[in-house]
Amino acid sequence: MSEYSFTGKPVRKVVEKVIESSLLLCALSCILTIFLIILFIITQGMPIILKEGPVDFVLGTTWDPYNDIYNILPMIIGTFVVTLLSLAIAVPLGLGCAMLIAEVAPYQVRGIIRPAIETLAAIPSIIYGLFGLIVLVPFIRDYIVPFARDYIAWMPLVGDLVGAKGNGFGVLAAGVILAVMILPTIISISEDSLRAVPRELREGSLAIGATKWQMITGIVTPAALSGIIAGVVLGMGRAIGETMAVLMVAGNSPIIPTSLLSMTRPMTSAIVLEWNYATGDHQTALFAIGIVLLFVIMILNLIIYLGKRKKLNVARM
């Protein structure tokens, strides 16, 4: 019985207790860490929000540390514009790619695409930033801006939306870089949820005469929709939280972006940009941006959480 000593009753009880308590410890340490971080950010940032007034802080348009004016509307809009653009690029691309891998491509093709996407996810964000600064920004400045000026600017609405002036830095560059960064998240989660759709649904739709394309768009995708949405929301979270790559290509001027080619300063960049030398109220204001950012991300997480409770087909995160 010696080899059973581990599973023997008294020992087993002790082991059970140890496992239980270490699990509890894990859970508690997570909660405590999050609690500490939130507490820290709020205690550091709250004074300036109270000083400027919450409404002015969030809805004012001037960020001028030299004159002690800290309003962050341009940053909030910057974050949302850049995130929306990256989603607009990454969602169709990612969904298409997920459909290809999950439904269309033969095994060998999947064997090539899947690792490539995983590598994409593993590239550090600073590398994306360097790529953006050296390749993307000059490309936009030298080709897209003249093109927009000569061929798009005359159009009534689109012209205004795209803009005609720019130096390469800005919403477009940041959006494209972010789109590439969140693609892996969207692809892998969408693919998993597409795969999780029961075989019977596919067979049934094919059996009643649907083409493969009809099957994918009409049956499988709607069935996996909640998982796909979860993937998109996760990607959105990453886009909002991304800092370094955006900092390097967004141009960082604290103005409300009015077009695709105008510069912007999202919230994360705003914090890291001025952190080094900020003192006093300026530093507090950067913490206060952190509060807003944390708030936005927490709302997003809440959405994911509520969505998940409806028993989504999210196989893995």
Partner: protein
């Protein structure tokens, strides 16, 4: 600025670190247990075979060794983290054995631009004279000059010249270094000379095309440092005065970011500390004067400012005298030079 809430950060950092450590060990432990239990689950029916015995023992040993190793590494890391960071600087060979032992505390107050350098100097000063302490604090050039005047500080720091009235009131200035700022453009830019007024207009957003200052017909990309940076503050003071830098400027948070942007964009203009200048960008002449160590020293290059120690007459305090002498010694000047300043 960080000192004020350093304890809070330290506590939180340590807490988070220990949490992560606990988390890690706990996860590892669970992993280890689960390995065992999976093993048990699948192999128990055949548990009486020898293979099972051997496997289980091997697994036990391996996991135990791994567990112990990681625990030891973790504990060692924590222990290292707990010990306060001791200055690792090796004691300098005492170059001047004649350094008379001075003791006491002086206050050095003033310009926030000089402050970081003075803090470095003060650290090294105390290393050399263990009983002498120079307490450095900020407040701005004006506050520094005032503090020197009314005696609340033995030494005031200023990043601007003293006015004649201030000199007449008996203050003595000692230039410790010069802070020069180079205006840089792309190497392909045809413009090579601007006046300070033109530079001001460009950075204020009043001149937006290179053709207005003698260049080709192309929009100017203004590149600036982030608010709060020492270089930007200096540029603001020397060139811009009360006028704000245009919000349409690209903001980069480092000298590298500025040079990279200017080197990559043929229509860009930016400014960097003179000490950081390299060949990837072209430094403009300002009012016809090339920026160089000598033109900065003789003040013909305009975009520069002196860093001053201000004292009320000749300092009488021994520590203050020693601190000024230390700043002007080769050792002190080397510290200033490493901070991209032009030494005297």
């Amino acid at each position: 600025m960080l000192e004020s809430f350093y304890p809070v950060t330290a506590i939180i950092f340590m807490t988070v670190l220990s949490m992560v450590f606990i988390l890690f060990t706990a996860c590892f432990y669970i992993f280890y247990i689960s390995l065992l239990s999976v093993h048990r689950l699948y192999l128990t029916p055949h548990s009486l075979t020898n293979r099972y015995k051997v496997n289980k023992q091997m697994l036990n040993k391996k996991s135990l060794v791994a567990f112990l190793t990681i625990a030891i590494i973790g504990i060692a890391a924590m222990a290292l983290g707990c010990t306060s960071p001791t200055p690792t600087a090796t004691p300098l060979p005492n170059a001047s054995p004649t350094a008379a032992p001075v003791s006491g505390t002086i206050k050095v107050v003033g310009s926030t631009s000089v402050q970081p350098y003075a803090t470095d100097l003060s650290d090294k000063f105390t290393e050399k004279y263990p009983n002498a302490i120079a307490q450095v604090s900020g407040g701005g050039s004006g506050a520094g000059i005032k503090a020197a005047q009314d005696g609340t500080a033995q030494i005031g720091m200023s990043s601007r010249e003293l006015t004649q009235a201030e000199k007449d009131s008996g203050l003595k200035e000692t230039v410790i270094a010069y802070d020069g700022i180079a205006i840089v453009v792309n190497n392909a830019n045809a413009v090579s000379d601007l006046t300070t007024a033109q530079i001001k207009d460009i950075f204020a957003g009043n001149i937006t095309n290179w053709k207005d200052v003698g260049g080709s017909d192309a929009a100017i990309t203004v590149v600036t440092r982030e608010a709060g940076s020492g270089t930007r503050t200096a540029f603001q003071e020397i060139v811009m005065g009360k006028v704000n830098i245009t919000t349409g400027a690209v903001v980069q948070s480092s000298t590298g970011g500025i040079t990279q942007t200017v080197a990559g964009d043929r229509n860009a203009i930016g400014y960097i500390s003179y000490g950081s200048l390299d060949n990837s960008v072209k430094a403009l002449k300002v009012n016809g004067v090339v920026p160089s160590t000598s033109t900065i020293k003789d003040k013909t290059y305009k975009i520069q400012r002196p860093f001053l120690y201000v004292t009320k007459g000749e300092p009488t305090d021994a520590v203050a005298r020693a601190f000024i002498a230390f700043t002007l010694s080769p050792e002190g000047q080397a510290i200033l030079a490493s901070g991209k300043l032009v030494t005297v």
